[in-house]
Amino acid sequence: MNHKPILLVEDNSSDVLLIKRALGKGHVANKLLVAEDGKEAWTTSSVVKNTTCLRPVNCLHWSY
């Protein structure tokens, strides 16, 4: 099991909660970091050590 934290960039609190719930239901125990926009995401990810930037996951199918 990978213990790296998951960074979620989402400004809709309802969506954040739904994602947290989904992760819990899927027994994903990784730490979840939430950022509301790109700037915040950048500062958050630089705080966490040994960050390797994985490809961004667009977990929702609601494509524009």
Binding site: N12, S14, D15, L18, R21, K25, W62, Y64
Partner: protein, 700 residues
Amino acid sequence: MTGYSYIPLIAAISYIPLFIIVISSRPFHRRHLLFILYLASAIAWSSTSFLLHSSFLPEHKMLLARLMTVAFTWMAVQLYVFSRHYGYGNYVAGLAIGYTLLTISIALAALGYVPESVSVSNGVQLSIGPWFPVLFVPLIYLVVDNVQALVRKLRALTDQVQRTRVTYILIGVCLMAFFSLSNSVDFLRRLPIDHFGNLAAACVWTYATVQHQLVDVRSVARRGLSWAAIVIVAIIGYLFLYAVVGMATHVQQRALVTALATIAALIIGLSIYQLRYVFTRLVDRLFYRERYDYRQKLEDFARNRIRGVSNLKDLSGKLLPLIIGSLGCPHAYVMLPEKSIGDFVVEFTEPEPDSKSVLRMGQDSPVVDWLKRENKYLSCDKLDIMPEFRGMLAQEGMWLKALNIGGFFPIINRGNLVGILMLENKQSSRYTLEDINLVQTVMHQVAVTMEKEFLQEQLRKREQELTLSTAELQSANKELEAFVHSVSHDLRAPLRGIDGWSLALLEDYQDKIDQQGCQYLGRIRTETQRMDDLINALLQLSRVSRASLELKLVDLTAMAQTIVSRLRDSQPDRPVEFIIQPKLMAQGDASLLDIALHNLLENAWKFSSRCTHTRIEFGETNNEGDQAFFVRDNGVGFDMAYSDKLFGAFQRLHKPSDFPGTGIGLATVQRIVRRHGGRLWANAKVDEGATFYFTLTGAV
């Protein structure tokens, strides 16, 4: 040789000024040509008559008599042709008789029958002999026909100017006819009495021309002088060449020298053809003196520099001094319409007056009407002659008299009279036709320039409007894009929440909610899905309208086959027969055509779902010469009465419970087809299926 023999000479000379006037008048009409022919024949007649009656060429009297007889007939016929032109009705018979007479007289003279004998013992005595009636009777016919036609015309005419012109012609013709009658008496024929008629006619017509066409003697003299100068220089040059050629070749034969000199003169003459302008310019300068420079400037201004000046005020300021200088008129005025009432009042005076002029002309004044209608120079002389000016206010007439106005030039722009140029009479002389033509040309140029300026202004305005509306359109487009973004993003976020939390309820609290509650939650989820579909369809519709077209050759057959396989995958158990015509190609945007074709085939698939044996066709047909594609199914079809609602957004012809859908699909197809410059239409019958046709003539 008696004093009488000089009468024809004087007559011939008196025609020369007229000849010069007519030949140098512009524009040149057919009547000018006819008049020139007449003048030439009259001059020929008078000069042969002079030679006959004089003591010159005593051994050639018979030849001169023959020439004179022919010239007389020619003159009579040309006079008929020219003056009959102004008369009433057509004159084919007269023309035929006249030219037959001319031919007969030439033949008779050439054969020596006419005149029979000439004796010079006691004055020149001509005897015409037995052929006299052959020549005389047709002449009588011509005279009678001519006078009758002119009188009839005179009765029918109402225009005073034309009446005067016809009257003068009639007087001239009558004088000629009366004096020519003397030819019928042997005794009188001895004296050239008939040339009194010629002389009198010449005087009458010269007077008429000078009086009523405003040609002054100075311009005639000017033209005559420049021509005389050219002729003299030509003769001197020719003689010089003759001498040079004679000396250079040492040839004794005069004929050869003459020929060589003529050829050389022709070559030199043609190569320095431009020389005539030098003479004209020299003579013009001589005549106009200080006014010559003004004329040149005025012509130059009208031709070149007028373009930079746009409004009438600037123009008046620049033109008036030039006009005054070139015409030598004491004062010139420009009247412009007053803004409030529209009456014409004097706005500019050149040179600056001591007191402002009070002249004012009502917008309904007959002068204004006339200028508007005729668009040409109006001489103040006409105000007294023509009946239509009788309605002019006495006040206006008095003002005109007080200012000693000579005439008016209209300034017309777009069919409206926008200004009037008035000239004060010259102190010593009248305005000549040349003066008037000059100003008229300039005024015409002014009108053209103003028209051009107007059109350019119009163009500028349109361009501005266009730029403005383009900017508006761009901002509207941006707003639309912002709206689309907000719809896609902001509107969907709560929708996602509703769907997500409903799912959470269903999953986490299933044991606490009864079955009906679960069903309701399920409904909430379907409704949110439906709304999401609608939003998606709307976004697609707006994207279809905005996306830029990338045209290329598209394989519609392959496209249709891909779509069909996707449809089959969605319902693998459904037996559907697809007939797709091979090798269907079209010019268009691949992604948009894919959306359109997808919508059409999906509709066919959907509305034929209740058939036991579904058949869907995609092919090509011919619609009035254009290539048209069609998608045909044998499904439920629709009532053609509602076909106008078919392509509107959110318009559905079937209940959602029967066939699900957003009601936007065909609207999207319609937009795609229109953007390709094509047309979409349908043909259907209830329960017998529907066929949708579309053309793709080329992208717009």
